[in-house]
């Protein structure tokens, strides 16, 4: 085997395999996030959601994908052809390229760049051109307005989100995604406990950047039909959709890496070895969780109405059981293998937790008006993130120069920032009241 492939390409084999896996799995994952979204929405609205295709709608994403692929590809007559074709591709390519620096577990990362975080931010910022040019090339007023809103929104919220990220970077002292996680491992705590306000700012900013509700003004259906994708149909439309969901996973991955400890398990610094082995009790948690899901599937299987659905539910249970077995088996494997598999599990679990927040917000908050969106971004979030950054820098100075306890100083800095936030809100209230008075 060694003499079959030249030595110079050996270092590229594993990254290429990782890349192929990501590109192959991501569309499927995006499809199932859509299903998750519909199920969560149904649950919050006391409905059942998709139930027809497969047991509990488990095959719905595949049916949707087939439908989208077979649909007619409609191109508006006066569209700018080249840009119209190119724009969705640009969106989806940039969303996929950003995965190159995202560490899904210690073993599964395409490239550990020393500017990893900046690379992801830069590449996903390029994705906006897919939306802007797509909206322009459609030659439709709805599309153009959606594109303009999207550009304005991204530029406004990128600043606040970036400043929110810097608060975690100050603690980590590196831009490499891997080293940021390792810094959290060394300090024995997830950075969200040190900079909760930074996390909150990034959460709001990331929702606005991915055009999700309540900031989904670029595709507000009550005003703009479907915004920048109004004129798109079939496969091109689904590319936009894929890009949106890929971007959601990216921002969730960034938040997970910077604030939620990346692939680390909860209670990183807590070790409770079973007597006589290297197995830790907390490491058994993933396999127990998945085993619970598997048992629930087996419990549900006989209750399905049709035989094929019973079989399929059983198969899903079997898959979960297999996954639980792999996770349990990894406990007894060498440490790198165990950390690789469990790291990927924890990373995905946190990413999905973050995505659940996205869905929760979508079904809880009504959509913002555009001036409200801009006011929130420019007059509340950006000043707040600047104050947060300054107080955190002072806290770090106190800790590093005078040896104060980091927990104490970060709590103080968060307190000061909250005080400023209250002031900002109060002033903003007064300002908006004055404005309405002027208007009358």
């Amino acid at each position: 085997m060694g003499h079959l492939i030249p030595q110079s390409i050996v270092p590229y084999v594993i990254p290429v395999i990782c890349a192929v896996v990501i590109v192959a799995v991501l569309p499927l994952l995006a499809g199932y996030i859509v299903l998750m979204e519909r199920k969560v929405m149904a649950d919050m609205q006391a409905r059942l959601g998709p139930m027809r295709v497969g047991p509990h709608g488990l095959l719905q994403p595949i049916a949707d994908a087939v439908k989208l692929l077979l649909k007619e590809d409609i191109i508006p007559e006066k569209a700018d052809l080249l840009l119209f074709w190119f724009a969705p591709l640009l969106s989806v390519t940039m969303a996929l390229v950003a995965y190159a620096a995202l560490p899904i577990g210690p073993a599964f990362q395409i490239a550990d760049l020393n500017i990893g975080l900046l690379f992801i931010l830069a590449v996903s910022a390029l994705g906006i051109y897919g939306i802007v040019f797509g909206g322009w090339a459609s030659n439709s007023h709805y599309s153009l307005l959606g594109a303009l809103r999207s550009a304005a929104q991204l530029v406004s919220y990128e600043t606040a989100a970036g400043l929110g990220l810097i608060s975690a970077l100050l603690l980590a002292g590196s831009l490499s995604m891997k080293e940021i996680v390792m810094a959290q491992y060394d300090q024995g705590v997830w950075f969200i406990w040190y900079v909760p306000i930074g996390f909150f700012i990034y959460l709001v900013g990331s929702i606005a950047e991915t055009n999700r509700a309540p900031f989904d003004l670029p595709e507000a259906e009550s005003e703009l039909v479907a915004g920048y994708m109004t004129e798109y149909s079939g496969f091109r439309w689904s590319l936009y959709f894929l890009a949106e969901y890929a971007n959601m996973i990216i921002v969730a991955g960034i938040a997970t890496t910077l604030f939620l400890g990346g692939w680390l398990r909860p209670f990183v610094s807590f070790h409770d070895h079973l007597p006589g082995t290297s197995v830790e009790l907390l490491d058994a948690l993933p396999s127990l969780l998945v085993l619970g899901v598997a048992l629930y599937c087996f419990y549900l299987a006989p209750k399905q109405p049709v035989k094929i659905q019973k079989l399929f539910m059983g198969a899903v249970g079997g898959l979960c059981f297999l996954l639980a077995a792999i996770l349990a088996g990894a406990l007894f494997a060498p440490a790198p293998v165990q950390q690789g598999i469990h790291g990927a599990f924890w990373f995905m679990a946190k990413v999905f937790g973050y995505l659940y927040l996205f869905l929760w917000f979508r079904f809880t908050f009504p959509r913002y008006r555009f001036d409200q969106l801009m006011r929130l971004g420019w007059r509340f979030l950006i000043p707040l993130s600047l104050v947060n950054l300054i107080t955190l820098a002072v806290a770090l100075l106190l800790t590093r120069e005078w040896g104060w306890n980091l927990r104490l100083t970060t709590i103080l800095s968060a307190g000061v920032t909250l005080g400023v936030a209250a002031l900002l809100l109060k002033e903003d209230d007064a300002g908006s009241q004055m404005q309405t008075a002027d208007g009358e």
Binding site: L121, A122, A125
Partner: protein, 169 residues
């Protein structure tokens, strides 16, 4: 590896030059913006080739991801149909020709005089590993004063913009 670097360098340079020319000559202003973005990205690629990855990323985030988005935003707000019908070249061919000749003579002279020192700079291997830190150190230690002056200039510009916008409200 060196051959690959040269190929990439000439590819990126050609891309930058060609798209710069296309940017100036396109009638459709949005297409011009697309070519300007391509030029900026190709330049960023050349930075990356020199192992200045921090400059690469800053170029992409600031110029392509920030400033150009605002450019495109403004372009789309302007009525394009009118500008497409407008006369795009005025007839000062003689003056333009003389100026172009003078400029190319200048460039040619500069290249001719420096023909002995014309080679691609080799990336410094020792700095390459800690590139971002090196940029930070240089900015905040050696070039502290110019850096701060530039920041204050930007701050003044920003306050000026706010003041001018406020007057209207």
């Amino acid at each position: 590896m060196a051959a690959l670097n040269s190929i990439l360098f000439f590819f990126l340079s050609a891309l930058a030059v060609v798209s710069a020319i296309l940017m100036v000559t396109r009638r459709n202003i949005v297409h011009g913006a697309v070519y300007l973005i391509t030029t900026l990205l190709a330049t960023a690629g050349i930075f990356l080739l020199l192992q200045a990855e921090f400059l690469f990323v800053v170029q992409v985030i600031l110029y392509v991801g920030g400033i150009m988005v605002l450019f495109v935003f403004v372009i789309m707000l302007v009525n394009l149909d009118v500008s497409l019908l407008r006369f795009q070249f005025n007839g000062q061919r003689f003056v333009a020709g003389v100026l172009a000749l003078a400029l190319s003579a200048q460039v040619f002279l500069a290249i001719w005089m420096g023909r002995n020192s014309l080679h691609l700079p080799e990336p410094a291997a020792s700095i390459a590993a800690k590139n971002t830190e090196a940029v930070g150190d240089a900015l905040f230690q050696r070039f502290m004063l110019p850096f701060e002056i530039a920041s204050i200039l930007l701050l003044v510009a920003m306050i000026g913009a706010v003041v001018m916008a406020k007057r209207r409200v």
